[in-house]
Symmetry: C5
């Protein structure tokens, strides 16, 4: 679907169909063209009206790309990633939004509904002055909304991490290992998406491109700052999850130790007793043994109790019980 916002002399028009002739990026007039899952027909606007470089158009229309920024002389081509809210609950997914920024236009291309662009579009429709700030400020507005949407996802990741950390000493086991593995995968995705995004926005903030003025650069510095924080948090998550993995391994080892101690105590207590009862059960005459009469049983019993006591004292000393 194509949506075109045209800003001319303080007023804003918004139409859903597009007539190439109508989009006139002229002096005092500027347009925002939003392509949401463009049909081949609609996507021709990119080449026929704006005459973008074929490689950039190809990238914009193709499947997921990594965030990046590229200058093609008089316009910038920017790929960023927004949160994919259609993904499963405990899962971190993003999808790409492509931007073409010129002096007189902003073109956004995205494969499916984007919450951030939808929200900014609504604001523009209600308030005509918003578009009056120009394409750069509009780009910042969209990017800022996209980056703000990361926050709740990061919080969800942190909750999952806290949950894993609590479980590690309470219910270590295969299920937890699987959770740790999934968490690591999600954090790796986060980093893979945030790091190049941070660098791309950083180049805007450092005013590497003539299209970005000083005031606009201050705004992008703020977004850059948010992205730096996100990437720091991703690093921090990675550190924590690997500490937790170590704790998990040591927790499993400790559990094994505990199990083995129980086994060893049981075996050490009962094996001598088995031999003892076996000795008194042999079909051989027992000469001169203590208690050759009716008290014999109690003698055996006393020896058993002594052996067990000695063993228990020994384990106590070793700190096993």
């Amino acid at each position: 679907m194509i949506t075109v916002f045209k800003h001319e002399a303080g007023s804003t028009q918004c139409v859903n169909a597009v007539d190439p002739a109508w989009i006139k990026p002229d002096s005092g007039i500027w347009v925002w063209v939003d392509l949401n899952e463009p049909t081949p027909e609609e996507s021709k606007v990119l080449t026929s009206v704006f005459r973008f470089h074929e490689l950039a158009v190809e990238d914009a229309l193709s499947a997921v790309h990594h965030p990046k920024i590229e200058s093609y002389g008089d316009y910038l081509y920017l790929i960023l990633h927004g949160i994919d809210f259609s993904a499963a609950e405990h899962c971190f997914r993003t999808k790409d939004v492509d931007f073409f920024l010129g002096a007189q236009f902003l073109v956004t291309v995205h494969p499916g509904v984007s919450r951030s662009i939808g929200k900014v579009g609504d604001i523009c429709r209600r308030n005509g002055r918003v578009l009056g700030e120009g394409p750069g400020v509009l780009l910042h507005r969209i990017v800022d909304t996209m980056v703000d949407n990361y926050r709740p996802e990061i919080d969800k990741l942190e909750e999952r991490l806290d949950f894993i950390e609590r479980e590690v000493f309470e219910h270590p086991g295969p299920e937890l290992a699987r959770r740790i593995l999934n968490f690591k995968k999600d954090v790796a995705s986060l980093r893979q998406v945030v790091l190049p995004q941070r660098d791309a926005v950083g180049r805007l903030a450092r005013r590497e491109f003539a299209l970005v003025g000083e005031q606009l650069a201050y705004r992008f510095r703020d977004v850059h700052d948010h992205l730096v924080r996100l990437s720091d948090e991703a690093m921090f998550f990675q550190d924590r999850i690997s500490s937790i993995l170590d704790a998990h391994l040591s927790s499993v080892s400790n559990q094994l130790n505990a199990v083995m101690k129980v086994l060893t105590i049981i075996a050490t207590l009962f094996m001598p007793l088995t031999v003892l009862t076996g000795m008194y059960g042999m079909n051989v005459p027992l000469p001169h043994l203590p208690g050759g009469d009716g008290a014999q049983f109690w003698w055996v019993f006393a020896i058993m109790i002594s052996i067990s006591t000695v063993m228990l004292v020994f384990f106590r000393r070793k700190g096993w019980i």
Copy 2:
């Protein structure tokens, strides 16, 4: 709460309420405005009197931010972190203090009491000449006090580390793993806070900003040096704790080895004896066995002792006992 120190012609005035007209950052006059948990009313000073950039003001009034330094032309915006003394005992927490430094003013914003600022404020009240050194020196004084406050916390961390190191060979177990995990988390927080702080102060020390003169740069170089040492120590702690974790894992494994050796020795000693007593307890005639008369029991006993001795010699050779 808002506190305003005004320095004019060698004398210092300090008031707690503020009349915007009264704050005149004029030639020969300079002010220090301290905002401690500012009410919305009080925080208007930032925009109405000083006209700071809206993004900086937003950052200053919002929740925790990472340390950073930013130039807005004729003033600097600086975020640093001080120790949060209200945190639990065995826990490392920081909170942010925001600074606006201009040629004629210093504005500090912090969410709750800051020991360092309180201390410097007391000195200013008692000694009028302190403020006479100008906003840059005052900033250095506050930052220096904040960084000095890290020292006792670092020492506490080192004590915890020494304790963990002693325990690792004496009481390895789940409790220790939990301690190690917590320690790693605290050191990660420390690094996360000290590293960007070091970089921000480093930019002051390298005189990247026109507001900082040579003499002031020497002072900030000293603070930078302290922060470099803190970050080195954080690195060192990380190294040590991961060595300790390795030692812990090897300690747990060794313990398991020790337990298994006991089990194996016990089983190996008593299992043959059980079979032996079992053989003499069978309901089958024992022809031609040694000791068919009363001496039989002692024969069995002798065989048992021999088997045990052979086993013990074997284990001795293997170095298990």
Copy 3:
């Protein structure tokens, strides 16, 4: 085998044998010479006709080299790696293709059939205008095809990784460890080949060499982008496989734990029973024991059941069963 494409005044000639005099890299004329497993005779073209530097020629004719780019004044020497489709199924292998790029010529040297060069050669034969774009664009065309060929191999690697990830919790064991080891080796090969390739193409994209104009640089930037993505994916694979290895180790440990618990439960249940039956089997009078008459057997049975029940409750509490 040697193949020579000669482009002159809009028309393309293609011959398989070469007469040195015929290759005239003159104004308006340019040639593409493709050497596929050149005979010593054929490879003399490099020195006699083009007078390339002896070291570059030696490299081009010798065994596998790492990707690199080198300028020899008026021509570039470039080594890239293409997928080796002749390798075994579950195995990642590459082989090198060498390029000499001048203003009037492109020379390609490769030890055996190269799918990418074969494909581009076919296109050139069918469409005369392709060569008309000049040696740089032809180089880009070949390199682009080579890099596109990596995609299905990367997908195969990802499938193998997904398979390993599924297996890690279901069938951990020596076979899986072997698969992980092989996978790591293949990813290391991939990185070893992609990283220098990315850097070499990056130098073309940044226009470090006078032979590459702006429009050509845009094209190489696109290829560079693909290579960056490939190397990012290789990094991501490395991260994932090492997470999986950790999960594998923890899975093996958990399995061991489970086995040990079964053993301990069995031993703890039956050892006391053995001692009990042993006691009642001793050749000693059993005075005052409960059940001295026919009910005795049931008494023993009751004690056994009680012991077992207590044990089972104990294990239940520990969460083992």
Copy 4:
């Protein structure tokens, strides 16, 4: 204690007390002031005579600092670390020496006896021409001696490492883990001290400061080279010790494997025999069993031998014995 060497017109004077007026850093005259655990009285020389920056003086008189170099305009402030020979035998400790280098003076401050400075002082007393080379060469002489003193300590570390490596396969155990932990701590200290020292001397060698001429820079390049080698060795030690730790863990695991195999073999050999003897010991008629007469015992014995043999063959096949 304060020691002052004064070099004037080719002759050297050395006194232990100091009269501020006597220290005249004038043309043709230069002084070396050595402060060994200075009293507050003595340390006033730094501020009153030389007028060093208060922050540098504070650093010089305070507790241990990290190695660094700082320029204060017409003099350099340098902190290096020398070996602390008063430390315990198997322990790596350093202490700091502070230098102030000017065109006409060298001031050294250290908390306690320094072997290197003592040695250079003796040489100066005996040979008047040594001081004639100027403050820079004297600084190099001291620093060179200090760095040379690291060599025997490095050799001791290497001996400890070799010892640990031999022990790892022969006596793995808790004691070895403790040694590894201590070694890692010492190597970390070494790196922590050598790396900043290398960087500080590297800045002298690269002639970043006007006080250091070309010939002097050659000398410092040599010292820098020594320090690079020391830091390389520290890296190499770290690599080796972590390899050894891995070997240690695998050694402990192998030992556990060996122990478990013995246990399993014993249990597998004797458990069936116990059941067999138990069967023949039951109070039930044994109908139709082989050997109902006196040969019965031998039959049982034969079955036992057969079972054991089968088991042993099975283990042999598995490669356990």
Copy 5:
């Protein structure tokens, strides 16, 4: 031993003793002086004839140094490492060769026979024109030969690695851990030697020194390329060996798992049987038990078979057998 090659007007002279006056590094004449384990007498050539800097001479005559390159104005001082062929078979060792390169001379110093220098010397003796190319080309010739000698050693390392990889799943054990440890040590030595060598030659290839012209730089770029490949291979070896170590640890754990399963199966099969035979062996009347007559034994046998079958089915389900 000292060997002097003197090249004058197209002809080469070679003598083994040296008369200082005879070595005239004059216009049109140049000399190559090779010092093989120089006597103190011979090594005086360095200072008396060539007047090299005392620090460089000291380095050249002292024990092993790390590879490096240093400029002393009109000559270069270069340390490289060649393979030490006198080392034990399965062992990677190098020894240093020192070079002084001037416009009119090349001086080589080495502690013992160097294969590369010997080989180049032979070529010079046979072919007078070789020396005619000048000192820089001669240096390249020697360095190239030295670097070529690394190849067979690298191949030997790879063979050892392949061997270890095969063994890891077939014969994991202490011997393999020792091999891995030794291999890691050798690869670390390799990296420690190749990395600085690569950097030193890289500086020659980048023409950082005036003595190296463009054509010579092309040659050194080729050597640099070889060294880059060697260091890449060292990295690759390190990666592979650490993957193999992981596989080894997981292999040992899997083996332990297998052993424990055998133990658990045996214990679980035979322990219930022991209790059963114990019950029927008690000296107590067995009322109402099944099979109170001669069929009793078969009843017991049937119960045993049933228990065992149930157990085996249970293990089968768990996937242990």
